[in-house]
Structure formats: structure tokens, C-alpha cells
């Protein structure tokens, strides 16, 4: 066979990143839109107003599309640990497998069974019971996030384990896994960002339809619901993110210092760098813009205190791990990616909150003032795509910041990959997955757009969707 001495590791890593990022486009979509649909159907069950039923069905279609792509791309996740990362699976199976198995038994069965029931029993159940089905789907998908994050949190911060003589980890406490501090910072953050994603899809695409002056009353209602949920999600994401970075300073000082681009111990009080480009070889910084006191405030919520730099963190890591892993471990991180990923999240959630408030303000009156604010509806439409970028940035931040470990302090990434897998197979599967993803994403966007443009009229023709209030005689004047 060919032997170009190609190393399988970078390809396996690339494949994991690619398949996971793509999968994670659709997971927050289905969890987030799922919550919107839950609320819409609950409103219908309470008010018995037909427009909420139409809303449920209308956004339900888009939800189903996202759900379908999310499920099938999730299959890859379940199997690629064994395929590309067999050494990891052997090392971690005792701990990692359990949350995965529980995720399937507890969450996947529940969500897919009740989704199947929900889709086909509109006439069979009373609205309240029917709404309960979709709530179960939403809760199950949130539960699946909890279990997979339990596994992820162990990789970031191992707890409740022991190392065996044969060199792999064994679980000693299941409770420790579930009460991992990392998990309880990560889980609310992830769920909040899922809510942001779904809500801004509902709000942003509604804004686009308002921009096109189609069924304005219907889409104004949908948009306002999306914006309110979106603000709740943004606040949750920022709060949990802030708590998480406070934890990060103590738990993974290297990751934190890299995300702030600091090599040397900062002065006290520490300034916060809004923008800088870092040369990771010479440790020089270019184009730095700083806000005084801000880093102290962000880190400790007070205007004093200094933060350790990467040099210090690097020395500490060598001191801690050289005995076991040797002096040649490279603990340096991709500073620029981490630095901007962090700012992307902060600016993203802030920006989204701001335009959501604007959107709510301009659509506050019953008469359709929002139709005239074309600039705003257009910006809101663009905001549909922002959460995807923010989510990806967040995961790149967390996972690249774990370098060089796959399991923090226990297993370096290089030792996790499958020894029997050839680079050729991985490159081949990367190409096929890539083509597959392009196809899936284009079809999904194409059909979602079709669904959107068909409008609520395609579900129930008897309602006047241009008017805000279906019971008022006062029709909106085009």
C-alpha cells in the first residue's frame, strides 16, 4: 500500500470537528424552535384562538425539518467514537458509555416516540393533551443535552474516577459525574444558546416575511414571541457564560488566559483587551484596544485583582504533568481563535439582545408600524444566522481550549485515535460526509424556505392573517 507516512490524527480531528459542528447547527435549532412550538401550542390550549394552532403547525413544519437532519447527523456522533477514536473508547468507555446509553434509553426513545404521536394525532387529543406531547419532546431533547454534556464535562474536568493498572479510567462515583461543577456551568449555557438559536430563527424569518409584507399579523405575533424568548435566552447565556468564565480562571487558567490573549501576569487592576492580534511565536500583540479595569471586573466582579498569563499557566502545567507525560507536551493554545471566539459570543449575545429590544419596541402597537421599519426587519432577518456562528465559536472555544488533552490531564489527543484506521479511509469519509452535508443543508434550507413562503394560509385558510387581531373587523390596509 501507499506509505506517505501520513498521520491519521489531523484528519480524524478535522472529521470530528466537521461532523460535530454540522450536527450542532440542527440541535439548537430543534431544541429552540421546539420550545417556541411548545409555547404556541400551550397558548392555543389556553386561549383556544385558532391563530395559535396555525402558528404551532406552521413552525412545527420547520421544527420537523431541523429535527430530521439533527437526528440523522447524530447517528454519526454515536458511532464515530468507535470508528475514529477507538483508543479513546477503550480508555474512556467505562465512564463515557454510560451517559450515552442513558441518553438513548431515557431521552431519544421519549423524544422520537412522542414526536411520532404528536405529528399524527391532532384530531385525536384535546389541545392540552396534544400540547403535552410536544412538551415531552422538548424536555426529552433537553435531557439528551444534559447527558451528552455529562460526558463532555468529564472530558473537561474529570471527576469520580480512578486509573486502573491497565491504564484506563474506571467510574467510582456516578453521582460525582452528575454533580460535576463543569456540567452545571455548561448545561444552562448550552440550553440558553439553544433557545437563542431557535427563537431567532422564528423571529428573524418572521421579520423577513414582514419585510415582504406577507401575512403581517401572523408573523408579527410569531416575531414578538421569538424576540421575547430570544432575550430570555441571551440573558441566560450571558449570565451562565459569565459564571462559567469565573470558574474557568480557577479550573483551566491556560484556556482563560488564552481567551484573553495574555502571556504575562496582568497588572492590578487588569485592563480588558477588546481587540488584538497575537503572534503566538513571538508573543507580540498588534492593534490592541483596551478598556481599563474591565478584565478584573469580568473575572472577579470587582475593580481590582490580577489574572495569571499563559506563561505562568504553562509552567504550572509542565510542573503538574511532566512526571507522567514527559517534558515534550505542548500546552500552547490557538490564542487568536480562542480570543475572538470569546468576543464573538460576548458581542453576539449583546448585539442580539439589543436588536431584539428594538424589534419589540417597533412592533409594540397593534397597528403594523413594524412594516414601515424595513431596515429593522432586514437586520432582524440577518440575525437569524448569527446564533449559528456564535454557537460554533463557543464550541471551538471550549474544545480547542482543551488542547492537548482529549480528557483533561488524563489522555492526550494523539493517544486517542484509532490505530487501525488509515488516513485514506478518513479522508475518503470526510469527502463523502462533506458532500452529504452540503446536500442535506441545501435541501433543508430550500424546503424550509418553501414552507415559509407558503405562509400560514397553506394550513388554515379561514383566518385573516394580515390583521393582528383575528376577531376585529378592522382589516389592515395594504
Amino acid at each position: 500500500m501507499f506509505n506517505f507516512a501520513l498521520n491519521v490524527l489531523p484528519f480524524a480531528r478535522f472529521q470530528f470537528a466537521m461532523t460535530t459542528i454540522f450536527h450542532y447547527f440542527f440541535i439548537p435549532m430543534s431544541i429552540g424552535i421546539g420550545l417556541s412550538v411548545c409555547i404556541m401550542e400551550t397558548m392555543y390550549a389556553i386561549t383556544k384562538n385558532k391563530i395559535y394552532q396555525t402558528m404551532t403547525k406552521f413552525w412545527g413544519r420547520i421544527f420537523l425539518l431541523a429535527f430530521a437532519v439533527g437526528v440523522v447527523t447524530g447517528l454519526i456522533q454515536e458511532f464515530q467514537f468507535g470508528m475514529n477514536w477507538s483508543q479513546y473508547s477503550r480508555f474512556m468507555g467505562d465512564i463515557f458509555g454510560a451517559p450515552l446509553a442513558i441518553e438513548a434509553l431515557l431521552a431519544f426513545f421519549l423524544e422520537s416516540t412522542f414526536l411520532g404521536v404528536w405529528m399524527f394525532t391532532w384530531d385525536k387529543f384535546k389541545p392540552a393533551w396534544h400540547a403535552l406531547m410536544i412538551w415531552l419532546v422538548f424536555l426529552a431533547s433537553a435531557a439528551s443535552a444534559l447527558w451528552i454534556l455529562t460526558a463532555n464535562s468529564f472530558m473537561q474536568h474529570p471527576v469520580g474516577y480512578k486509573l486502573t493498572s491497565s491504564g484506563h479510567v474506571e467510574m467510582t462515583s456516578f453521582k460525582a459525574l452528575l454533580t460535576n461543577q463543569q456540567l452545571w456551568y455548561e448545561f444552562p449555557h448550552v440550553i440558553s444558546s439553544c433557545i437563542v438559536t431557535g427563537s431567532f430563527i422564528v423571529a428573524g424569518t418572521s421579520a423577513w416575511m414582514i419585510f415582504r409584507k406577507k401575512s403581517v399579523g401572523f408573523f408579527r405575533k410569531s416575531m414578538r414571541l421569538g424576540l421575547v424568548l430570544g432575550i430570555v435566552g441571551c440573558l441566560g447565556a450571558v449570565t451562565s457564560g459569565d459564571l462559567q468564565s469565573g470558574y474557568l480562571i480557577k479550573d483551566q487558567p491556560m484556556k482563560f488566559a488564552a481567551s484573553e490573549g495574555i502571556y504575562n501576569h496582568t497588572e492590578n487592576p487588569a485592563p480588558w483587551s477588546v481587540f488584538q492580534l497575537t503572534n503566538t511565536k513571538t508573543h507580540q500583540e498588534y492593534g490592541k484596544i483596551e478598556i481599563p479595569y474591565m478584565l478584573s471586573f469580568l473575572s472577579y466582579h470587582k475593580f481590582s485583582g490580577s489574572v495569571a498569563g499563559m506563561d505562568e499557566a504553562n509552567r504550572a502545567l509542565h510542573k503538574q504533568y511532566d512526571g507522567k507525560f514527559g517534558k515534550n507536551m505542548d500546552y500552547s493554545l490557538n490564542v487568536n481563535v480562542l480570543f475572538f471566539a470569546f468576543r464573538l459570543m460576548a458581542a453576539g449575545f449583546g448585539g442580539l439582545t439589543f436588536i431584539a429590544l428594538l424589534g419589540l419596541w417597533f412592533s409594540r402597537r397593534r397597528k403594523n408600524t413594524i412594516v414601515k421599519q424595513k431596515w429593522l426587519t432586514f437586520i432582524l432577518f440577518l440575525a437569524t444566522f448569527a446564533p449559528f456562528v456564535i454557537n460554533t465559536g463557543g464550541w471551538l472555544f471550549t474544545e480547542l481550549g482543551r488542547d492537548p488533552w482529549v480528557v483533561y490531564g488524563l489522555l492526550p489527543i494523539a493517544k486517542a485515535v484509532s490505530p487501525s484506521t488509515s488516513p485514506a479511509s478518513v479522508i475518503f469519509t470526510i469527502i463523502v460526509y462533506f458532500l452529504l452535508f452540503v446536500t442535506l443543508a441545501s435541501c433543508m434550507v430550500f424546503y424550509a424556505k418553501k414552507s415559509l413562503y407558503k405562509g400560514p394560509e397553506s394550513i388554515d385558510k379561514t383566518i385573516d392573517y394580515d390583521n393582528d387581531d383575528p376577531f376585529s373587523k378592522e382589516a389592515f390596509n395594504k
Partner: protein, 342 residues
């Protein structure tokens, strides 16, 4: 081997049986969507019978994979990294199968709908075929080193036994799909499905005989477990005959039960034949044994407790979802409507 290790080996076997019995019907209906149907309305009627259930049924595969990871990580790691490309193709076909239902439903043009219906049929054929190949390739002695890393060549994956295994699983799924559909259909389609199944059953016997012969030459099932292998092979032929007979006599429930049993016996044949191994190396000292591939007793206890709590609840709502959605559909529901399968 501890009791829990044996228990989880049986649980994984059970999950694969449930997967092939339940999702097998979905694969079969997917195949029938082009094989049995001549018009879009007929395809839609067939797909409608499985559309509330396929997603939940597929979870049995995910649960089986997850359980392997949790309870026998060394098996999971060796098997999945070893049969890399085969598993990859399984994933690709399952991906297409999953989205094809949804995209077919939202497509608006007849061309688009037809393309996704073909995607349904092709992926529903490929998935069980490839899974059948995987199940029968993994029971043969494979080139494996002393760390459990498998380096398969082309002929470890493609050989008479694995091809027969692929055909057998595909055929079983097709029968299962047709039986499931007859239970959910009224009128002409119901009888056409039964008649197609009845005719196709004739192909089962030669495949089963050839399969038994290939099993004799390419595995050590007959040396290690002569009695149970022979018993299961006889049972497979008997239940096939029962399924065939009851299809001919229009006993639909019996036919479904009979074919479910055939599927269960085939999976049991594999798991009993492998026992107490999970993978057999060409150099026997490297073979993986259940007792060596398992998780720690602590982890096994944790997942056993979780399973014992969840399984009754899961079974209850799973059966409930089938019962409340059981309905015989008429072809007329699907004529002259642009609604598609749902």
C-alpha cells in the same frame, strides 16, 4: 464471566432483535414504497403506515450502540474501528433514509417527491443489506492484533457468507415491512402486499440453506456450539415456513409474529455462535472474550439500575404509541391530495 457481563451481552442481543423486528418493518415498507407501489398515492399509503414509528424504532440501534459502548467498550472500539468503511456506508444509508421521509413530505413537485421516494427505497434496501453484511462479517475470524485492533482486508468484509447475510437480512426486513403494512391497510393494497410477500417467501429457503452451508465453512459455530446452532437453524426454517403458510392463509398477525421470530432467531444465532467471544481473531489467542471487553462491575451496576428503572416505562409508552396509532388506511385517503404521506 460475571452475571452482569452475561446479562448485558443478552441485553445487547435483545436490542438488536428489537431493532430489526421494529425498524426492519420500516426498512421493508421503505423498499415496498417503490417495489409494491405503482403510483405516488400507493407509495404514500405504504410510507404512512410506518411514518409515526420509524424514528423511535431507529433508537434501538442507537441504544444498542450506546449499550455496547457503556458495557463492552473494547468490543465497541474494535468492531467499529475495524469495520470502518462498512459502518460508514450503513451510516450514510441511514442518514438518507431518515431525511428522505421528511423531504418527500415537504417536496412540492411530483419530480421532487418521486426522487425522495426513490431515496427512501434505495436507502431502505441498502441499510439492512449492509447491516446484514456487518453482522455476518463480524462473526468470522478476522485479522486482529493483541490490542484488539482489526485490520480487515476486502475479503474479510465481502465474502459468500457476508453477501448471503446481507441478502437474508434484507429479505427478512422486506417480509417484515409487507406484513406490517398488511396490518395497516385496507382493500386492494392489503392483498397485493400479502401476495407479494407470499411469492417472495419462496426465495427464503434456498438463501437459508446456502447461508447454513456458508456458516459451516466460514465460521466455527458448528465446532463451538453444534447443538444450539443446529437448533436455531431448524427454528429459522420452521418459522419461515410458518410465516409463509400464514401469509398464504391471510393470517396477518400470525405472519408478522412468525417473521419477527425468524428475525429474533437469526440475531440469536449470531450472538449464541459468538459466545463467549465477541470477536474472533485469526490467531485464536487474540480473540476478544466477553469477560475481557467489559466495563467495571461498578459501571455495569449503574447502567443495570438505570435500565431496570427505564425499561418498564419505555415499554409502556412505546406499546401505547403503537396502539393508539393503529389504523387501517384506505388508498382513497391518499388519492387526489397533495398532502403526501402526512
Amino acid at each position: 464471566m460475571s452475571f452482569l457481563q452475561f446479562f448485558w451481552y443478552a441485553v445487547i442481543c435483545f436490542l438488536f432483535i428489537m431493532f430489526l423486528v421494529l425498524d426492519g418493518a420500516d426498512f421493508g415498507a421503505g423498499m415496498a414504497a417503490k417495489l409494491l407501489a405503482f403510483r405516488p398515492a400507493e407509495s404514500n399509503m405504504i410510507v404512512r403506515s410506518i411514518s409515526p414509528h420509524w424514528d423511535g424504532n431507529e433508537v434501538f440501534l442507537v441504544a444498542a450502540g450506546g449499550s455496547m459502548f457503556a458495557t463492552m467498550p473494547f468490543w465497541y472500539a474494535s468492531l467499529f474501528s475495524g469495520f470502518y468503511l462498512l459502518l460508514f456506508l450503513v451510516l450514510v444509508s441511514l442518514i438518507f433514509r431518515g431525511v428522505a421521509f421528511e423531504f418527500n413530505n415537504v417536496a412540492e413537485t411530483p419530480k421532487g417527491k418521486n426522487a425522495w421516494m426513490w431515496a427512501t427505497t434505495l436507502s431502505s434496501t441498502a441499510a439492512p443489506f449492509l447491516l446484514g453484511m456487518l453482522f455476518t462479517a463480524m462473526i468470522q475470524p478476522v485479522p486482529m492484533d493483541n490490542h484488539g485492533n482489526i485490520f480487515v482486508g476486502l475479503f474479510n468484509v465481502i465474502n459468500p457468507l457476508s453477501i448471503l447475510g446481507g441478502i437474508a437480512v434484507t429479505a427478512l426486513c422486506l417480509y417484515q415491512g409487507l406484513h406490517f403494512f398488511t396490518l395497516h391497510a385496507n382493500g386492494i393494497m392489503r392483498y397485493r402486499a400479502a401476495s407479494l410477500a407470499g411469492n417472495l417467501y419462496w426465495a427464503a429457503y434456498p438463501v437459508e440453506v446456502l447461508f447454513a452451508i456458508a456458516l459451516f465453512f466460514e465460521t466455527n459455530f458448528f465446532e463451538e456450539h453444534l447443538l444450539s446452532t443446529l437448533t436455531l437453524l431448524v427454528l429459522i426454517v420452521l418459522t419461515t415456513f410458518w410465516g409463509h403458510l400464514s401469509t398464504g392463509m391471510h393470517k396477518e398477525v400470525q405472519a408478522y409474529v412468525a417473521n419477527s421470530l425468524t428475525i429474533a432467531f437469526v440475531v440469536m444465532l449470531i450472538f449464541v455462535g459468538l459466545f463467549p467471544h465477541v470477536l474472533i481473531a485469526q490467531n485464536p489467542v487474540n480473540s476478544l472474550l466477553i469477560k475481557n471487553v467489559s466495563s467495571s462491575p461498578f459501571t455495569l451496576t449503574v447502567v443495570t439500575i438505570v435500565l431496570c428503572i427505564l425499561l418498564p416505562i419505555l415499554t409502556a409508552y412505546f406499546i401505547w404509541s403503537y396502539i393508539i396509532q393503529w389504523k387501517r388506511h384506505d388508498l382513497s385517503e391518499f388519492e387526489n391530495t397533495d398532502k403526501g404521506a402526512y
